[in-house]
Amino acid sequence: MQLNSVDQPVLKQTTRPRWSTRELLTAAVLAMAFAALLVPFTYLYAAVLSLGILARSALTGLFFMPAAFAAYTLRKPGAVIFVSLVSGLAAIPFTPYGLLVLGIGALTGAIGEAACWLVTRYRHFSLWRVVLMSFATGLVEFLLVLFSLRVSQIEPPMLVAAIVLSVIGFVVVGIVARFLADAVARTGALNNTALGREREKRV
């Protein structure tokens, strides 16, 4: 901070922030709300994790919900990873996994962010593009966690079924997140987001 001739503080800002405070807070609170909604599912996930790779694959997509919702409503670079991370951070004290939830959030967020950039360029969010974004995220996430599943120990048909289930789970969650965002947008709460502005233009 510098002082000018009349001792008034001069605010120096080199670059304009790419995220407004409103957008940052909206993203963070969305993450918080999804953490509150998804915490019971982390217990269900813990219960089915032991039932085997198929049950685990079917439910992993649930953790993509905050990311898909943020991608569709905020449409900004970094939104997916930020919301996934904050959602994981908020869930740490309430889940059986603790820090691992943050790891899952980071992984889902990073892959989702890349898929969002590749498929939608943060502009085009037709249903098919959302399906494709979710498909890509589900597939890549499954392939990345394969090593932790000791793939060489598991029957190959079981693995193929797990990949298919994982991808279907992510696609269903992506579609549900899109419909949920549209439903929330109808309440007027999302008017200041990219989705709200797009809806205004359409009207």
């Binding site: 922030p17 807070l25 609170v29 813990a46 951070l89 603790g98 029957e155 949920l180 709460a189």
Partner: protein, 274 residues
């Protein structure tokens, strides 16, 4: 100052350490657990983690047991269900323990289930050093102050964490309002999903409106006007943080070396031929 539970000075307690210190300390052990194929290393490392938590974490036995129950259940589930999906040719040479319908369950398959379950147990036990002794706000502060995460993002996350009790209250109010309108608890999967959908929309709408009001208030107080900001609470990497990391790494190394010397370590995942 001394904590009354186990007479450990507060300065030695895990909660007084920088949150990032605890992650750095347990990360190598977690990576090693991911590579193990035997039961001894996960067992030894989870015992180390639980001992550290009981002595330095000031976590009561009851709280620790409560936190461990779901994870122990998962480990037990792995022992029961994992043998059903293991490749037959991997375990065909081992004796059959029992037959489940037409499916023979081999000793080798049970062993693989046990090692998978113990790996998960060890993973979670190690992360509990962080989970049970760290406040989410302190972690966010440490990310901003030591990991150089942009402070606007860090403080937005911290603000959102403060919304947690409000959102919980909001959730109760929404559910009560829906019950008053005759849409209470529903039975079956479809009913539960419908309740979740009807709860999610007002909860998200209300959360977003709260966030916008908070953002206006923060902007009104010049949040983000400067490239850096001061903090009421400074997180530091003190000598005790360095000492804890070195001590934990040393203890982990000694345990692994001892298991290797005794021949109990087993082959690691990347050198094991399956």
């Amino acid at each position: 100052m001394v904590n009354s539970a186990l007479r450990i000075p507060i300065s030695l307690s895990l909660s007084s350490l920088n949150p990032l210190t605890k992650i750095v300390a347990v990360l190598p052990a977690m990576l090693f657990v991911a590579l193990t194929t035997d039961v001894s290393a996960p067992l030894a490392l989870s015992t180390l983690a639980l001992a550290v938590l009981l002595v330095f974490g000031q976590v009561g036995v009851a709280r620790l047991a409560k936190a461990l129950v779901p994870i122990a259940a998962i480990a037990l589930g792995f022992l029961i269900f994992y043998p059903l999906i293991v490749r037959r040719e991997l375990v065909a040479h081992t004796p059959v323990c029992f037959v489940l319908g037409a499916l023979p369950i081999h000793e080798g398959a049970l062993w693989l289930g046990l090692t998978a379950g113990l790996r998960i147990f060890a993973f979670v036990s190690l992360t509990m050093i962080f989970n049970l002794t760290t406040e989410a706000h302190d972690f966010a502060r440490a990310l901003v102050q030591q990991a150089h995460v942009p402070y606007r993002a860090g403080y937005a996350a911290m603000t959102a964490l403060r919304f947690a009790p409000l959102l919980r209250y909001e959730l109760t109010v929404i559910r009560a309002a829906q019950r008053v309108r005759g849409f209470g608890e529903q039975k079956g999967l479809h009913g539960r999903l419908e309740v979740l959908w009807r709860t999610a929309i007002p909860l998200l709408a209300s959360a977003i409106r709260r966030a916008e009001r908070a953002a206006l208030a923060m902007d009104g107080r010049a949040f983000g006007a400067y490239p850096t900001r001061t903090d009421l609470r400074r997180m530091r990497f003190a000598r005790r943080d360095v000492a804890f990391v070195i001590a934990f790494w040393l203890a982990t190394s000694v345990l692994i070396f001892a298991l290797w010397q005794l021949g109990w370590l087993g082959p690691l995942a990347f050198v094991q031929r399956v």
